[in-house]
């Protein structure tokens, strides 16, 4: 009895959480012309159409670029920061921690507007550059946090031993620390990638002619057209995210880090 109730509650919750996603997959596979569920016959024409829409292709490339290089940039400055915050007793380390974590707390739409108004307009930054900085700042807190937690689990005396045995500090880092936190860095990359790729509010104001991230482009597209291609694209993107996460889980037990 208790067991049945258990599964009923879980079944309902999961239907609510995952059901809409399944509906999207089928709505995108419609043979008809408009968005509906159940679809008017099944076909893959809308899934195929997604690849022929020029603006989707452009915005996909931009989102990909931001997600990959924004996350790499965040790791480039985030890993040393995480290392310093874990291994050194810094004056003002709480302040540094707060500053680096701040982008999580401030709503994205405000960040986008602020960058547009004070970097792009007066300082002549291009929109792409502002987007790049915004996405880097957005991912930075995750990078620092995830890498910090794997540094936390690595004993500091291993590096001290390496230094005593003749490594320079840099060598101790690249030969001892980095191989040991590789999983954490990769997990941070994946988390950052997914966060950046799916991000909407930050990019809302940061768009210009030909410069639009994919989610923003989808929002604009669904305002004018009511066909199933956005559903098809949504489903494809969801599969992409899931494939990345599952691969990560298989390779390194991603969920340990998040």
């Amino acid at each position: 009895m208790a067991r049945t109730t258990n599964w009923v509650v879980l079944g309902l919750t999961l239907t609510f959480l995952i059901g809409p996603f399944i509906i999207i997959i089928f709505a995108g596979a419609s043979a008809g012309e408009s968005l509906a569920f159940p679809p008017a016959g099944l076909s893959l024409k809308w899934y195929a159409k997604v690849f022929t829409v020029e603006s989707f292709r452009q915005s996909f490339m931009l989102s990909m670029f931001l997600a990959v290089f924004g996350t790499l940039a965040a790791l480039l400055i985030g890993v040393p920061a995480a290392y310093a915050l874990n291994r050194y007793k810094l004056p003002g380390d709480e302040t540094i921690r707060t500053i680096v974590a701040a982008p999580i707390i401030v709503p994205g739409i405000i960040v986008g507007l602020a960058l547009l108004r004070y970097l792009v307009v007066p300082l002549d930054f291009t929109v792409t550059m502002a987007l790049f900085f915004a996405h880097t700042a957005l991912v930075l807190p995750y990078a620092v946090r995830v890498v910090s937690s794997s540094l936390h689990n690595l004993r500091a005396d291993m590096e001290e031993a390496a230094v005593l045995l003749g490594c320079s500090r840099l060598q101790a880092f690249t030969k001892v620390v980095l191989p040991n936190i590789r999983g954490g860095v990769l997990a941070a990359f994946i988390l950052g990638f997914v966060t950046s790729f799916n991000q909407v509010p930050v990019s809302l104001f940061l768009s210009g002619p030909g410069v639009r991230t994919l989610p923003i482009d989808m929002l604009a597209y669904m305002e004018i057209t009511y066909d199933p291609s956005v559903a098809a694209l949504s489903a494809l993107l969801a599969f992409m995210s899931l494939a990345i996460v599952f691969a990560a889980e298989r390779l390194l037990g991603f969920s340990r880090y998040v």
Binding site: L119, L219, S234
Partner: protein, 273 residues
């Protein structure tokens, strides 16, 4: 632990300076905009903002939806988390994975699904008309209910995750012990489960509440201009009328609300113990 502070600072500063210059400073200037006028400092941006009925409606609607979504998520979250914790280890891992899974999917995709479900020719309306409950489709999209449902679906996983990790830390025999000693399920919940999981509730509650306050896509797609929330209002003020003072005021409200939610919930959590 190394003691060479200069070296440590050199490693930490690039990230801090980046965040400060390209993030905190622009945001701070934006927030200050509502306080500045040609003659000096002023609060007129705020008084003007709150004197407009539309802004008041949007402010209270945002607050209301945030509280409702967080509250409902807590109720469903406790039920779901309790069931998940009661599962065997393998099933628990799988179900937990299914709960986390939606978080990896683009919010645009997840919100778009509700158009298919709640639209004029959506599943719900087809059923209602099909059953003869109404002759014409009912307007479900662009209502507060639609926004509520969308937000709940978006943020419920965060609450469940927080509560599951809190419940996993409850010692195994505490609940059976309370039952044996004569407590009914309501008493068990209020006097055993709630006090032992309040930290998880605070974390989950803050995440869901601030998430709902600062969501843009859900109110934009499911609410449109009929059901404005603070984020969509901000976008409209800037894009339609270049009104940066209102934008600055809304930005401040969103940040203050997120912070105070966090503080308030923390206060509640510590007051009980």
């Amino acid at each position: 632990m190394f003691l060479n502070n200069r070296e440590g600072l050199a490693l930490a500063l690039p990230a801090a300076i980046f965040s400060l210059l390209l993030f905190l400073v622009p945001v701070a200037i934006l927030l200050s905009e509502a306080f500045r006028s040609d003659t000096g400092w002023t609060l007129s941006g705020y008084t003007e903002f709150f004197s407009k009925p539309l802004n008041q409606v949007v402010f209270f609607r945002t607050l209301k939806l945030g509280v409702l979504v967080a509250g409902t998520a807590a109720v469903i979250g406790y039920a779901a988390a309790f069931c998940i914790v009661n599962l065997g280890p393998t099933a628990r891992g799988r179900i937990f994975g299914l709960v986390v899974l939606p978080l990896m999917i683009s919010p645009v995709a997840r919100t778009y699904a509700w158009i298919v479900i709640l639209g004029r020719t959506g599943i719900v309306n087809d059923t209602i008309v099909g059953l003869g409950l109404s002759d014409t489709p009912i307007r479900l999209l662009f209502t507060e209910t639609a926004v509520f449902i969308g937000l709940l679906q978006l943020f419920l996983p965060l609450m469940i995750i927080s509560l599951v990790s809190a419940m996993e830390n409850i010692p195994r025999d505490v609940i059976p012990a309370a039952r044996v000693l004569g407590a009914n399920w309501i008493q068990v919940f209020i006097r055993v489960i709630l006090p032992l999981t309040k930290e998880g509730l605070v974390i989950g509650g803050t995440l869901v509440f601030t998430g709902a306050l600062t969501a843009y896509i859900t109110p934009a797609i499911l609410g449109g201009s009929k059901v404005l929330m603070l984020e969509t209002l901000l976008y409209q003020r800037v894009n339609v009328s270049n009104d940066f003072v209102s934008a600055s005021v809304i930005a401040m409200i969103l940040i203050v609300m997120s912070f105070s939610a966090n503080l308030l919930l923390k206060r509640i959590a510590t007051a009980r113990s």
